[in-house]
């Protein structure tokens, strides 16, 4: 009985350990919850979009028929999750070869700061390994013109708006050239 108990316990631990290890390392992980929320007031949570969600899940939920113009190439300046998007959108609708556009070069700092405020006010925030350096963590703002929710062929543009700040917005908010 003791040997059987030991075998059963050890086997359960090994199987559970394997599943946990695979869950943590081998499969996509977005986020499980929002941390560090600044308020629990319902109106502020809703109005200021205090709840976080990853860009991937937001794309899946709200831009199912969209085109992801320039998420970049993972490992070469692109979002770490960019190749996951191929499963849903296909190669025709995800421009992995198109790099993320850095808005800091083409706009003055005041314009950028003002635009970042709009992104913070209207968008969902999440954190992700920085496309320019996966060892560091960056904030990603995800926002879109709500009138275009679930619009077929809506184009989502990836931009850099700060040293550690990126965004994904629809092309009514930012215009860049190119096709997927």
């Amino acid at each position: 009985m003791r040997k059987q108990t030991l075998v059963f316990t050890v086997t359960s631990l090994i199987v559970a350990g394997l599943a946990v290890a695979l869950n943590l390392v081998a499969f996509p992980r977005d986020m499980a919850l929002t941390r560090g929320i600044s308020s629990f007031a319902s109106s502020e949570v809703v109005g200021q979009k205090l709840w976080n969600e990853s860009p991937v899940q937001l794309l899946y939920t709200f831009m199912g028929g969209g085109i992801i113009l320039n998420p970049g190439t993972p490992g070469d300046g692109g979002f770490i999750f960019a190749d996951r998007l191929l499963l849903k959108y296909g190669e025709d609708r995800v421009g992995l070869e198109n790099p993320i556009v850095d808005l800091r070069g083409s706009n003055n700092s005041e314009e950028i700061a003002s635009f970042r405020d709009i992104l913070r006010d209207t968008g969902y925030e999440s954190v992700t390994p920085c496309p320019h350096d996966y060892q560091q963590t960056c904030t990603v703002y995800f926002t879109w013109n709500r009138d275009r929710t679930k619009e077929q062929d809506i184009v989502m543009v990836s931009i850099r708006v700060g040293e550690f700040e990126y965004a994904m917005v629809d092309d009514s908010l930012v215009q860049v050239g190119g096709t997927p």
């Binding site: 559970a16 394997l18 869950n23 943590l24």
Partner: protein, 494 residues
């Protein structure tokens, strides 16, 4: 920082629940949580009808009534019973206080989700005693019970720290189900501990710890209902089990309109296994399922064409009549346990057939379901694959005919999957932008999120097979000893 009125109310409910559910004390905690949700919903309904009602005081009064009822119904009024019930209440309160403190200290909250934001808007309006009725379908879909109990938070806030308690209740309810299904303590405890660790590491499940939605409550509700189903099917009939089933059905009904469809298979199964009980007890199941929904739908001013606000009360009465008809049909000779157990698979098969014939995106949906469950985009990680493989191995090791409990669990899983698909098709029909599929890629897909409803049944199936494997191994050892002349008596298998 700490919402003391709600904390005390929850403690008082736990006290009453502990006394009332003597035959399954572990289940008293999840049932207390369901009672809280139901009571809170009732009080908010009253407040909407009579704005002078103070929701918090009303809740405390209801909680006290439950506690008094528990004490009155306690057959042997010993100090030990009261003290242990107080202990249970104390532990529940400490856990809830801890959850509130941890949640506030670390600023923990739900992931961003459109449905959740709608719930917050509704709960905020409930705090003001008003209800801005949205379009009918959205209003019925967003439901009532969740924004109702969330409105018991501090002024302007939702009920901080309560959602993790619901998650804990779902886990405890699952363990309580296992306490009935798996008799071997080692298999049950080691198995459950392993399962919990894997579930918490599964991001799709971990999201539900703080998710502003009703899924975790339904997980707990189904664990309670399954326990009741298996107890009655096994011939264990007691009033407290019937009462906890009523509470679970009533709470599910208070939450959302589509729960009426989603709970339908288990309601039918429960009606069957309770066929030797009185007509009143059986009909009470149907009343508990439909009348709470009719109450909130009517108070919130949802009516139907022609009959207006009488619409949903009439539907509730009609549903109870359907229940009575079903009870008559169940008296036919050809209706047996086997018929009912197979009906789950039959309904699933028919649903899939209809979907194949009429949904242009059936195969795409199937592919999406595969991507969600096995390729990670539904955030289930390796858990479905490891579970399937583990189950396959245990079926081989624990070979033998399925037990009656396992047959009921299969019936539940297949029947519930069918109605989840039907609910999804219903969603699609109401939103012209969708293609009529039953699954889309991503965690946000409702079928992907609602898969947590199946966790109690799947875990019970897995561990019951584990127990069978254990018994087979023991029996083989006994037979080996007998063959070699060691001579010990063989044990009878379950």
């Amino acid at each position: 920082m700490v919402n003391w009125p709600v904390t005390i109310g929850l403690g008082v409910l736990q006290f009453g629940s502990y006394l009332l559910f003597r035959t399954n004390r572990i289940m008293s905690f999840p049932v207390a949580i369901l009672l809280f949700v139901f009571s809170a919903s009732l009080v908010v309904l009253l407040k909407l009808l009579a704005p002078a009602v103070n929701a918090t005081i009303g809740l405390l009064v209801l909680c006290a009534l439950v506690a008094v009822l528990g004490f009155i119904l306690l057959k042997e009024k010993s100090w030990i019973s009261v003290v242990t019930a107080l202990g249970a209440a104390g532990i529940t309160m400490v856990v809830f206080v801890s959850s509130q403190l941890i949640t506030r200290f670390w600023g923990l909250s739900s992931i961003g989700f459109g449905d959740g934001q709608t719930v917050l808007n509704i709960s905020e309006s409930f705090q003001s005693g008003i209800y801005a009725k949205p379009d009918a379908l959205i209003g019925l879909k967003r439901g009532f019970g969740l924004p109702a109990y969330q409105s018991l938070g501090f002024e302007g806030e939702f009920l901080v720290g309560f959602l993790p308690i619901v998650f804990l209740a779902a886990l405890v309810a699952t363990y309580a189900l296992l306490s009935f299904v798996v008799q071997n303590k080692l298999v049950r405890n080691v198995g459950f501990a392993s399962v919990v660790v894997v579930l918490v590491s599964t991001e799709s499940v971990a999201r539900h710890i703080y998710l502003m939605n009703t899924h975790t409550l339904l997980w707990a509700i189904f664990a309670v209902l399954l326990t009741g189903l298996l107890k009655f099917a096994g011939g264990e009939k007691d009033t407290s089990t019937w009462a906890m089933v009523l509470i679970a059905l009533g709470t599910g009904s208070m939450l959302r309109a589509d729960n009426l469809l989603i709970m339908a298979p288990v309601l039918v199964f429960l009606t069957w296994v309770m066929r030797s009980e009185s007509t009143a007890k059986q009909l009470a199941l149907w009343a508990a399922t439909f009348f709470p929904f009719a109450a909130w739908a009517t108070v919130l001013d949802f009516g139907l064409p022609v009959v207006g606000l009488l619409g949903f009360p009439l539907i509730a009465v009609a549903a109870v009549a359907v229940g009575w008809l079903l009870m008559r049909l169940m008296k036919l000779d050809w209706v047996k346990d086997k018929t009912m157990q197979r009906s789950g698979v039959v309904v699933l098969g028919l649903t899939v057939l209809v979907a194949m014939m009429f949904s242009p995106s059936f195969w795409t949906s199937l592919e999406n379901l595969f991507i969600n469950l096995f390729l990670g985009e539904g955030l289930w990680g390796a858990t479905p694959l490891v579970s399937l493989v583990a189950y396959g191995v245990l079926v081989v090791l624990g070979r033998g005919p399925s037990s009656e409990m396992q047959k009921w669990l299969f019936a539940f899983v297949s029947g519930t999957l069918a109605v989840l698909m039907m609910a999804k098709f219903g969603d699609g029909l109401s939103q012209s932008a969708t293609l009529g599929g039953f699954a889309r890629i991503g965690w946000g897909d409702s079928l992907n999120r609602m898969s947590v409803y199946l966790i109690p049944a799947v875990v019970a199936l897995l561990l019951s097979r584990g127990e069978k494997a254990w018994l087979n191994f023991e029996q083989n050892k006994q037979e080996d000893h007998t063959k070699t002349g060691s001579g010990s008596k063989s044990r009878s298998q379950r």
